[in-house]
């Protein structure tokens, strides 16, 4: 493992921009959250735009049993608010009658519901009382005026925290939605080190809610969980600071921070991690052949940008030109920033046209950006990686480290493979 850089980006100046932001709103998180929590239903209270976003955001329409829907506000709802609360009660009653398997219902606020100040907190309380104990009704806002893309998951998890049971003994809580297979790998590693009492937020099913209390330590597997962390801290939990578990270095540092906190000795740690670590290194090395020495430019998208830039620069030999994030939670990504070698522009927020100018001037070998920008940049001769794939693909921990490097290598390999020019 390379030594930490003499000067990391921890103290680097941040270019703060305000302008047009080419990002998703927090509703988008429903696409993966409704799959992660198998007995939860997400009811967006919003407009036709919200419904249209949900079916377009994933690039495909997911038709098999959607556990989300939109209650579309109409002219009549906008006229009188008391009306809207009654309407909502009706919609929820119908929904729950049709789906008796639902145990958690999230009322999800949107831009229009926020602007007309439709009180979904009050609605959730009222509906919880009506449908308890079978269904718990919670609310959060996934609106674009308050949340950017992955902040929707943050708002959702934060909304669950006050309802979590109280923990009295020492326990470990892992926050952040992971694909089931990755979560199982992580739990397997922790168990092998002797850490048995581990709970995850979100849990796959409503009855497995994790407990939290003053003896709880919390580790984050996603960088965008600022509100969730604050809510857990208010319940007395203590944050284990660590780089995010991407690649060999991130995973090892993350696991070691957790292990130390839970009293695991260095020998046990080394014994458990040695084999998967070696596998991860081998897999990264293979994919890195394509990435080594290439430059990368991150447009802001999911807040994964800083940890991923750390992975690409330190483990795959890439040079970061600009690392843009929609929002930087220093308390969470601080360790990753410290490890990221100085040099790249660190930017927060966005003015998309100015940022496009910078990317065009830099002509990076690889540009990580959203779906709205990828094809236009490809047409300008840049090679791009869609950022959204990074939140829809298993990329955390050792066994996925090679896949993660592979995601970035594939566009470059493809460009090398294609022979489409006319004959000379």
């Amino acid at each position: 493992m390379p030594k930490p850089p003499a000067t990391g980006c921890g103290a680097a100046p941040v270019l703060k921009e305000r302008g047009q932001r080419e990002v998703f709103c927090g509703l988008t998180g429903i696409i993966w959250l409704h799959r992660k929590m198998q007995d939860a239903f997400f009811l967006v209270v919003g407009s036709r735009t919200c419904a249209h976003l949900l079916q377009s955001a994933a690039g495909v329409m997911i038709f098999a049993e959607p556990r989300f829907a939109t209650a579309i506000l109409e002219e009549t709802d906008l006229a009188g608010l008391a009306d809207a609360q009654d309407e909502l009660d009706n919609q929820v009653a119908q929904l729950l009658a049709r789906r008796p398997d639902i145990r958690q219902l999230f009322l999800v606020g949107s831009c229009p519901s926020e602007v007309i100040k439709l009180d979904l907190g009050r609605a959730a309380e009222r509906l919880s009382a009506v449908h308890a104990p079978h269904v718990r009704v919670l609310n959060y806002s996934g609106s674009g005026i308050e949340t950017t893309f992955t902040e929707g998951e943050d708002a959702c998890l934060a909304a669950m925290v006050p309802a979590l049971p109280e923990a009295n003994a020492k326990s470990l809580l892992i926050a952040g939605a992971l694909p089931d297979v990755v979560e199982d790998q992580m739990l397997g590693l922790l168990r092998a080190m002797g850490i048995e009492d581990v709970a995850c937020l979100p849990a796959r099913r409503a009855e497995d809610l994790p407990a939290v209390g003053p003896e709880t330590v919390v580790a984050l597997v996603q960088p965008f969980l600022g509100e969730t962390l604050a809510a857990l801290t208010r319940r007395g939990a203590r944050h284990v600071e660590a780089p995010l578990p991407f690649g060999d270095e991130g995973t090892t540092a993350w696991l070691w921070a957790v292990a130390r906190e839970m009293g695991v000795d260095a020998d046990t740690f080394a014994r458990v991690t040695e084999a998967p670590r070696a596998r991860a290194r081998r897999a990264i090395a293979a994919a890195s052949e394509t990435l080594n020495g290439k430059s990368v430019f991150f447009f802001p998208d999911s807040q994964l940008e800083i940890p991923l830039a750390r992975f690409l620069t330190r483990e795959c030999g890439m040079d970061a030109v600009e690392v843009g994030a929609p929002f930087i939670h220093r308390a969470i990504v601080g360790p990753d920033l410290d490890l990221l070698p100085e040099g790249p522009t660190i930017s927060e927020g966005q003015d998309v046209d100015k940022q496009l100018d910078r990317a065009r001037a830099a002509r990076p070998d690889l540009t990580v950006c959203g779906l709205g920008l990828a094809n236009p940049l490809e047409a300008e001769g840049l090679t791009t990686k869609w950022a959204i794939e990074l939140v829809f693909t298993p990329v955390h921990f050792y066994e996925q480290a090679g896949d993660l490097a592979g995601l970035f290598a594939r566009p470059l390999r493809r460009k090398e493979k294609l022979r489409l020019e006319a004959a000379e």
Binding site: R21, G26, S56, I72, L78, E146, D353, G370
Partner: protein
Amino acid sequence: MKLSVWTYEGPPHVGAMRVATGMRGLHYVLHAPQGDTYADLLFTMIERRDRRPPVTYTTFQARDLGSDTADLFRTACEDAVARFRPEAIIVGASCTAELIQDDPGGMAETMDLGGIPVIPLELPSYQRKENFGADETFYQVVKRLAQPMERTARPTVNILGPTGLGFRHRDDVAEITGLLADMGIEVNVCAPMGATPADIARLGAAHANVLLYPETGETAARWCEKTLGQPFTKTVPMGVGATRDFIAEIRAMLPDALAPSEAGLRLPWYSASVDSTYLTGKRVFLFGDATHVMAAARIARDEMGFEVCGMGCYNREFARPMRAAAKEYGLSALITDDYLEVERAIEDAAPEMILGTQMERHIGKRLGIPCAVISAPVHVQDFPARYSPVMGFEGANVIFDTWVHPLVMGLEEHLLHMFREDFEFHDAAGPSHHGGKAVARAEDAGGQPPDPRSISGPVMEETGADVVTWLAEAERELKKIPFFVRGKARRNTETFAAERGVREISVDTLYEAKAHYAR
């Protein structure tokens, strides 16, 4: 408040984006919160456009609401004009911005934007939808920029209606432009697709208008008729008969127009050839936008020999013509944008094929009914790399292929009838010309797979099963019938039994019904 799982149309500002993105030199400044930028990916991903839609979003956030969102709009407007140097801009609000009442149109009109035309849009997001948004935007652009002017010396027409993100618009325009060229008619302007604001200004030079897509171009066509004195075509040239009617319409408007060649037209012979006999009387259910469905119904009945057993559209604006068209087929039209209602109607009609949208394709998958896609909403598959119009003579050829493809073909269908219990070659294995792994027949698997319901709740059995009962032996016999006709057989038998007051269906009843409905 209306519960919606899937929507057929986006919000009206997406319609405005389809106009702006289809055109060149026009920029759209949209007062909208940050998440609304998702709409860009419709164009860059689904349509694979190689440039960003010409849209600047103000992307206001909650913290801006307290201060001055109007200022944000002004800055966005000025920046967009300075950076993109459009010939004209359209300005408007998305659903959220409509609520904060900043009046972007009014603001932009009072700004100094270098004298370019500023066209304000009023698109009521909580009442109307995407097609209205496109139609209204195009109308506002035309009304603002087009002027009466001298007609061209040679016979010319404008093509009105094609937009960005339109179902096969790219190829339909090419096909109809070619057809018109064959008739000795030049296209003066095609709009919105491909037109600049300067092109819109010279719409008046054409002798007539060809309205290809009433959903997105009719209001503009009517305005041109009234103000510029241009007649417009009423027949959408989809299918053989409609294309011929369209040609007749053009020749009535423009006496110099020649009769085009039908040399490349293959549908009539393909449909008449004996291999197509198996298509006769196949019961099809049609759903989509009104224009495509009404045209498809005529093709289905008159050119393919199908029986139309249900039809409808999601765009309420066209409910009246849709209802009138359905009456001609002895049907009452289904007018709804509720996906679950469409699903129920299809289940009830038990068609042998669905001609619908991407959503009906999924309904078909769930119910085991083959489906061909005939209408928006669009999917990445609706933008094929190959030339694939649905209008004009080549469009008719394309439609023949597209509609036949999902079906089990002639002799294969017979073999399935003859050897119903073959363990490999059975109906659940699917048509043999399709990809996908054939599944071995599970013992006594009674037809359709279990149906994972969404939120539509228990299926109401409305086909008369509450009145008549199937005896076990008859039920077994029914299962021997291939799945693609089983629905029809069940329905016919139940109707037959109910009409005769028969309470129990035996094997005899099944075959009596079969004889009764024989054709």
